[in-house]
């Protein structure tokens, strides 16, 4: 997330009194909430609509009625849908589904693996290529070859389309300040928007199916491509650009001969990030009919078992690692502009030729022989993995119940219920006033205005109560995330070995779809709000740990040396030097934590957490509640923006130079 810098006022004496005011405010809030408990909570029963949601439902209905012969559909939405559908089908037929009249895809499994090996070798090196081949093969060994290929094909299609839009827009935003200014708010918004939110509106226009899923994925990944491309173009050092202009380049020449080649590294990094974003959308896209690995995950969540979900989750991670490593290997091969020697180049050309021949052999075999076309069923380790994970979750549920139940009860009774009674079960006006006042103190007048406006809008939608339920869960999950995240972050920030050991786990944790976590959590904690909270915590901890760890590492060495030389203990060093110095990172981590948690808490609607997420799901299957579902999505958006704004203003405030 970009850190915006705002005008800053930070005066030391105020800081102290601010803490007191904040405390007083909290106290009076709690007291007032006790007195006014249950009054004016604006609670709306799940099957009921508010005037606003009724209206939204009518709008949705009229859009739907237009589908067959409305001009917008005939000439805009439907052609787009058909084009994307065609494109997706094409890429699926290449590797995943039978093509044309044939009973196999264009490439059988051996063909796919050969091509992957060859392409990865061509963009990076032999080690990466071997790893990519092994990882792809492993997906087949998990018994999920076709689903994995579907995921790969969907990701590929979405990435190609995202880049086709994202890179040109990014270049434009890189060249023009005005364009950058125009797209930045959209990019920011896209980053805080939980993915669940835009499924329903997109489905309304593009219906259910791979096209909708692809478009939803693009909505998620295009901003990343735009941002990094623009960043790359802007990051080109000024002096070569200036020198080139002084030599009379046209704008086009400048772009082609200077800016693009010099920003290629960042742009490839953008490609990498776009790929990862698209992949992370795989599971949630299954909710609107995307084929691929999302299907078994959702199946497992709703009907079957931890094991199957886990196996599918592993396949997602394997593909993620494969794509991530091979694209980032392409970046590091760009480390220098200096080419290898002629001898190296020759060796490489021979290598490429051999790899090319192997790939062609693989392709031909996969089209001629059944064993090379269909992934061998004998190689299947999914049962073992599934039952192992099944039994370990079962063991925990059976033997650690005191722990899981205790944890769940402690958080629910000790934190969740009291907070909910303050936020949701007290009058709405009390909550609005208090949140506004607090954001005034924490973030300044602008953040107070933003909060008041957004909260007012939420009240107007009629979904105030459910929004506050979701907000409560988000806050609780974030608090717990920060506790764990800061401890772990400080640890890896101070200890390079711990950092090295934890990093792969953190990376894998970030790529595993949230749904995969949801399944065992459901096993541990049953259908409850705590299940959603626990999932949110597990999902957001990696990013928080990373940011905090980085913040701690970035504390200037001389600061630490100075403190150590005055005889600070380790504890004093952490609490009095490193944490305060990393304050900005802590705030940033909180902000990211909140946004990540929100995205998952919403999914908690699947497991009995109630709130806005549940309404979104309800709306997707019950036509009479679709308006409510859409509005619930809108409220998630408002909530996300509010959280982000307050946090951003706080970050801005705290990055003030201290006197």
């Amino acid at each position: 997330m970009s850190v915006r810098t705002e005008p800053i006022i930070a005066i030391t004496p105020k800081r102290i009194s601010r803490r007191w005011i904040l405390g007083g405010l909290l106290l009076s809030w709690i007291v007032l909430a006790q007195f006014l408990r249950g009054k004016a909570t604006l609670e709306l029963d799940n099957p009921d609509n508010s005037p606003f949601t009724t209206w939204a439902g009518e709008v949705a209905d009229s859009i739907r009625d237009n589908r067959t012969d409305g001009a917008a559909f005939k000439f805009f939405f439907n052609p787009i849908r058909e084009f994307i559908d065609g494109f997706v089908t094409l890429s699926r037929e290449l590797i995943a589904i039978p093509s044309g009249s044939s009973s196999i895809p264009v490439l059988g499994w051996l063909g796919v693996i050969s091509v992957i090996g060859f392409v990865v070798y061509a963009v990076s090196n032999i080690r990466m290529a071997t790893a990519a081949v092994a990882l792809t093969f492993a997906c087949g060994a998990l018994g999920l070859w076709t689903d994995s290929m579907d995921t790969l094909a969907m990701t590929f299609a979405a990435v190609i389309l995202s880049l086709a839009i994202g890179i040109p827009v990014g270049i434009w935003a890189g060249l023009s300040d005005r364009v950058l200014k125009a797209v930045t708010p959209i990019l920011d918004l896209a980053q805080i928007l939980p993915t669940l939110v835009y499924l329903a509106p997109l489905a309304l226009f593009f219906l259910i199916g791979p096209a909708s899923a692809t478009i939803a994925t693009m909505v998620y990944s295009i901003p990343i491509a735009v941002r990094l491309t623009a960043f790359g173009i802007r990051g080109v050092p000024t002096s070569p650009v200036e020198a080139s202009i002084s030599m009379g380049t046209t704008k086009r020449q400048l772009l082609q001969k200077v800016q693009l080649p010099m920003s290629s590294r960042t742009i490839i990094m953008g490609v990498n990030q776009t790929v990862m974003a698209a992949l992370s959308f795989v599971v949630i896209a299954a909710l609107i009919g995307a084929p691929g690995l999302g299907k078994p995950v959702i199946d497992a969540l709703i009907i079957r078992n931890v094991g199957e979900g886990f196996v599918a989750g592993i396949a997602v991670v394997l593909i993620a690692i494969m794509l991530d490593r091979s694209t980032s290997a392409a970046i590091s091969s760009q480390d220098t502009f200096v080419p290898p020697s002629d001898a190296d180049r020759k060796r490489r050309r021979i290598g490429l030729a051999i790899a090319g021949i192997l790939a062609i052999v693989g392709i031909v075999l996969s089209r001629q022989l059944a064993w090379a076309a269909f992934f061998p069923k004998q190689i299947d380790i999914s049962k073992q993995i599934a039952s192992a994970s099944d039994s370990s979750v079962k063991w925990v549920t059976e033997n650690m119940e005191f722990l899981t139940a205790g944890l769940s009860k402690a958080v629910t009774v000790g934190v969740l219920n009291p907070l909910e009674s303050v936020l949701a079960n007290s009058p709405w006006y009390l909550t609005v006033v208090m949140i506004t006042l607090m954001s005034l103190i924490l973030g300044g007048i602008r953040s107070a205005i933003v909060s008041a406006t957004l909260l007012g809008a939420i009240v107007a939608t009629g979904l105030w109560y459910d929004t506050m339920i979701t907000f409560t869960q988000t806050i609780v999950a974030t608090l717990l995330t920060m506790v764990v995240g800061v401890i772990a972050g400080v640890w890896i920030g101070r200890n390079a070995r711990a950092e090295r050991a934890l990093r792969p786990i953190l990376d894998a944790g970030q790529t595993l779809p949230a749904f995969v976590y949801l399944i065992p959590m459901l096993g541990f904690f049953g259908p409850s709000r705590f299940t959603a909270i626990a999932t949110g915590i597990v999902y957001s901890i990696p990013i928080v740990v990373k940011i905090v760890g980085q913040g701690i590492r970035d504390v200037p060495v001389n600061m630490i040396e100075a403190a150590t030389s005055t005889g600070s203990t380790k504890w004093q060093l952490i609490t009095k030097v490193q944490l305060p110095a990393a304050k900005k990172s802590l705030l940033l981590a909180t902000n990211q934590g909140l946004i990540f948690v929100l995205a998952v808490v919403v999914i908690g609607g699947f497991v009995g957490a109630g709130g806005l997420g549940y309404l979104v799901l309800l709306g997707s299957s019950k036509p009479e509640l679709q308006g409510k579902g859409l509005v619930a999505g809108f409220c998630i958006l408002l909530l996300g923006v509010m959280i982000d704004r307050i946090a951003q203003y706080m970050v801005a405030r705290n990055s003030a130079p201290k006197h």
């Binding site: 050092p237 002096s239 070569p240 650009v241 200036e242 020198a243 080139s244 202009i245 002084s246 030599m247 009379g248 380049t249 046209t250 020449q253 001969k257 200077v258 080649p261 010099m262 220098t336 502009f337 200096v338 080419p339």
Partner: protein
Amino acid sequence: MSEVSSAISVNNLWQVFGPNPEKIVGSADASLPRAELREKTGNTAAVRDVSFDVAPGEVFVVMGLSGSGKSTLVRCLTRLIEPTSGSVVLNGEDIMKVSDARLRELRRTKFSMVFQNFGLLPHRKVIDNIAFALEVNGVSKEKRHARANEVIELVGLQGFAYAYPEQLSGGMQQRVGLARALAVNPDVMFLDEPFSALDPLIRRDMQTEVIRLHEELGKTMVFITHDLSEALKLGDRIAIMRDGAVVQMGTAEELIANPADAYVEDFTRDIPKSHVLTVRTIARPLADTETATGRTIPAETIIRDATAAVLDANGPVAVVANGNVIGYIKSRDILQVVGGGTEA
């Protein structure tokens, strides 16, 4: 100076940042000190009413501390930064008035620039960096590489044509920068602190290199620097800038001999005057008690170089300009300058 005899003629050039910059030019506010101007109008005047002429083949140095506006000035001369008002006449053509296309053409053929941070393209070989301006001008690969090889030879980069910039040292990289600027055989070269990023020893080599190139090719140069000794070493004439305006302009000797104000004097204080001034500046009438030795010395001799001859003479030496004796000096006069005791 008349227009014909100057390579560049800069007249009343202004560059003002901020809101409504045109309004500042010529108004009473324009003369306000920098901070007050910003306070009052929100504008910063980076270049204020600068005028000068550079003769063909002259090396004209603009000197000033950072923030004095010298870098903005040189960018205004090629319109890398658009000036607010004023004119820059190059070979009789006011480049402020030319179209974008013509401006590109001028940049491709008539003038070239060398930058402090080299501004080389890291993804291109040395030869393609040097040939870049020719390339964007549509010169065929064969021709532009032939030309590039000529200048590679000229600046002593033989053997590095197919290297990449990051494989070269800083000094070598700036040689590429110089070669690139020379490749188009420009009428005027602008050098913006070209050697500031280099080590002192390399810097001295490069200065010598520029002098050599200038002697060989006779290019008109506008050279920007913050280093007075560099300015003195290279410049036929020097303009000293402060807060966007030129405070004094003249030959090295004029500046040192007659600093216009305390600012210039402050600058020149640490310069060994004997290295800059000619004997002309210390020539004086013969005192009643003295008798001329009959020896003479040309008026344009640098004091340092005159030392041996004058000390050897054992009495006043006549300073001769255009065949006329304009005054006398003896060893004490020289020792005073070398010792730094006298005001010149």
